[in-house]
């Protein structure tokens, strides 16, 4: 008997911010879409390991594809976040020159930015001091009022949820192992069975070169480039009110170690810039972590080692080799042999900002061939779960008295209630991991890092019918526990 293979119009590989944004944009049309993700949740690669900055576009070379999609992204980002109910704050950015030698670079950046249509102005120390009183002495800065911040992993989750609401099928824990062109469509082989699709969109980020190779495209190579970060306690949020950047170091391939206020009131220090061999080595390292703290303190002396609550690393999917350094343009191209196989390669910074623009760009590529027809029942808005700590007090009182689950505080540091944990556990994507709860609620993200709430979260997962031996941090073999201490007598 021949098994009927599930068949789709379009298969998207990779559920990072790019894959999920494309899925959501395509879901506006009458097409059957599958979104494949190797991890246990969406946005687990570079999308949850970046600064969460919505860039204004002054570092993108004039006339580049990057400039085009970044500018479009920045223009629509507030609406994008509003529709998806994801935090967005237009905090602005200062790129700070510490000595006179750096001033010409500020003017160069302003020139590039203005060519791209970015609103920018150069200010002196008096204005810097007024805007950011905790920043140490500098000679000048470029102020970009249109730079903003968002929550990058919530945005991936929101795009995926909105896509699923509109009919996209998502396959988590499903790595695409091979793709064959067979009987006039693609056969995608995964660890979880085979699927057919007429189009393939390769949004596999760090693994996009490997997926491209499955289409016979051998020219791409990803050079993983790691950036390490520190996260600071939210009791230091008062130290800065906007993004604080250095003048980008020449050819480093990064924007320099900067300070980023997050939408949750933490400050991020980072990222560093380092080419590495393995694209899954998210290690932080002793010398870089020391460097981060030092550079942050050079900028804002009020920061101390005691303020650290976590370190992490993200990996940039660079297409420029270490020997050349710097940045390459985004590549969004159909395979030369198959126009229905679209590769997105080298989507590093400002990939998050560009996601809405890239999604539009990819949809246009398909639309030109297929003349896509819009659905008339597309729902463009998605509601986030309740964040109890952010409710007005009268709502807190009402909700906590109506539903006891909102009266039970599970995470002390972030004030997260059992009600929120349960909503996160019952998410529309079916993710049932500790990290899935963490990213959706912030539980374990506070200063005690789960020391208090982890055992409570485990209890709630058990109440919801999970065996504790099956509970994982993030899917796969990331089991938290090895068994019982004592067997039942």
């Amino acid at each position: 008997m021949i098994k009927q293979r599930p068949s789709f119009d379009i298969a998207i590989i990779g559920a990072g911010i790019i894959g999920t944004a494309i899925a959501r944009e395509l879901a506006r049309y009458q097409v059957k879409i599958a979104l494949f993700e190797k991890d246990a949740d969406v946005g687990q690669g570079t999308s949850c390991r970046n600064s969460g900055v919505v860039h204004a576009g002054f570092t993108c070379p004039v006339g580049s594809l990057k400039a085009e999609v970044c500018m479009e992204g920045n223009r629509v980002f507030a609406d994008f976040c509003r529709e998806l109910d994801v935090p967005y704050k237009k905090v602005g950015k200062l790129v700070i020159a510490r000595d006179k030698e750096q001033i010409p670079e500020l003017y160069r950046l302003r020139y590039v930015g203005q060519e791209n249509g970015v609103d920018l102005r150069i200010i002196g120390w008096d204005d810097i001091k007024k805007m950011e009183p905790n920043v140490s002495a500098a000679v000048a800065a470029m102020h970009s009022p249109d730079s903003a911040i968002t929550n990058p992993y919530l945005l991936s989750i929101a795009c995926a949820e909105n896509a699923v609401m509109n009919g996209v099928e998502i396959f988590l824990n499903t790595a695409v192992r091979d793709i064959e062109w067979k009987e006039s469509s693609y056969l995608l082989q995964t660890g979880q069975g085979d699927y057919r699709a007429d189009y393939v969109i390769n949004a596999a980020g760090l693994y996009s070169d490997r997926i491209a190779r499955m289409s016979g495209e051998d020219n791409y190579r990803i050079y993983p480039n790691r950036g390490e970060y520190y996260i600071l306690d939210n009791n230091k949020s008062h130290l800065i009110s906007r993004l604080i950047y250095p003048v980008p170091p020449l050819n480093s391939g990064g924007l320099g170690i900067h300070l980023t206020p997050t939408v949750d009131g933490n400050i991020l220090i980072g990222p560093s810039t380092e080419y590495i061999d393995k694209r899954d080595d998210f290690s932080t390292t002793v010398p870089v972590l020391e460097q981060l703290l030092k550079e942050a303190r050079d900028f804002v002396p009020g920061i101390s080692a005691k303020d650290r609550i976590r370190s992490y690393a993200g990996i940039r999917s660079k297409i420029v080799p270490p020997s050349r350094g710097g940045f390459g343009d985004f590549i969004i191209k159909a395979s030369p042999t198959r126009e229905t196989f679209i590769n997105l390669i080298g989507i590093e910074s400002p990939g998050l900002t560009s996601a809405p623009g890239i999604a539009r760009y990819v949809v246009n590529m398909i639309d030109q061939r297929e003349n896509l027809r819009r659905k008339n029942d597309f729902q463009d808005s998605r509601k986030a779960n309740v964040v109890f700590s952010e409710l007005p007090e009268t709502d807190k009182v009402r909700l906590s008295r109506e539903n006891p689950d909102y009266g039970e505080v599970v995470c002390r540091c972030e004030g997260i209630t059992k009600g929120e944990i349960l909503s996160a556990l019952n998410n529309p994507l079916g993710v049932r991991t500790v990290k899935g709860i963490k990213y959706r609620t912030r539980a374990t993200m506070g200063r005690c890092q789960g020391g208090y709430c982890l055992s409570r979260i485990i209890n709630i997962m058990q109440e919801a019918g999970m065996e504790f031996t099956d509970i994982t941090l993030n899917g796969g073999t990331s089991r938290l526990f090895s068994g019982q201490v004592k067997g039942v007598i």
């Binding site: 996260i231 609550i309 976590r310 007090e393 909102y406 039970e408 208090y452 504790f468 089991r479 090895s482």
Partner: protein, 435 residues
Amino acid sequence: MSGDLLSCNLLCEEERDLVIIGAGPAGLAAAISAYRQGVRDILIIEREARPGGILNQCIHDGFGLHKFSQALTGPEYIDRFIKEVAELNIEILTGSLVTGLSRDKVVTVSNRKQGLFRIRAEAVILAMGSRERSAGAIGLPGQRPAGIYTAGLAQNLMNIHNIMIGKRAVILGSGDIGLIMARRLTLEGASVEAVIELMPYPGGLQRNIVQCLQDYKISLRLSQTVIRVEGKDRVEAVLVSGVDDRLEPVPGTEERIECDTLILSVGLIPENELSREAGIQLDPATEGPLVTDSYSTGVPGIFCCGNVLHIHDVVDYVSDEAEKAGVMAAGYILRESRERSGEDRNFIYMEAGTGIKYILPQLVKPDFRGEFSLRVEKPGKNVEILFLAGDKVLFKKKYYRVDPSQMLRISCPDGLLTGQDLVAGQPAAVKVVVE
């Protein structure tokens, strides 16, 4: 302030003479002692489903040696206090988290039964205990797989929830809970590969080094640290390195230890979120409130004791301290001595000088006759602890051996501080040093 009052009018459902935050060893002892002084309207608020605090998960023995001359387990020790509180009919509101505390002593509470509500207290005793320093707070390098637990969390999972956390563990830090967990894991069939300590001396008490490590042949490696955690999904190994005098890793000394679990026992931090919210001044050395000899914080009517004030080595001393705080809070409520700390000029400031990590209480009156709690910064033999007014030695005490892991208690001798010149508006300072 007006906002506080307004919302309190909306929500304040009851008033209490004394609200104690936390029903652990500090909170329970403070409640009993306040009751004995005559306070009757007492409410203890506890976030767990039952009173007892951290002792509920401390199933090893060794508690009560000082107080009861008996080696009790944690639950046995605290049961004595729980029973007494029950006999005195002191009310404990369990399963309730205090989410807010204002300067005017309005306590915001949340629980399943009542939702969010407020209580106005005449006096408050802070007895919230401490939390554990996390991997992030020490900048632990490497990957972030499953299998990294703080020692107290590991203890909670194993002893309360019957969950085995791993089979092959390395313990970073030699704090007491880490040492206790080294033995606990061994007894439950796990293999403890090593205990790694950054400092050249252990962080926990000598008796725990002997009873938890040496008796089980678990190696304690001093002046070493973890410089990388390996493993994508679950911990696979840690890379350990020697450190130099500046605590920096020494290249060439690395050793890879395979394990599936990393336990962190790298210090406790007094849990002072509520204190900060109430505008209470903290001492950077203890990370707890600055207190007077009546265990009063800088906010009149808010008292403090136990690990939220400073980290203790043994629970018996927590009970002692909490009894004193209970007496003082009762005095405040019963209007016997309503002092206003910070505004009262007649305090002597106790300054932690060379070799002293902290001394407590930080502010004492010249007629103080109580006990000082202090810790030294590093181990020493045949040392003297000196109390100095300027260059003049007021008092000295000899010790054959001192360790940072041990809290020293020194009774203030009669008349020690009475000779101090108190200049109006300027606190006199007495400096304590190790020689």
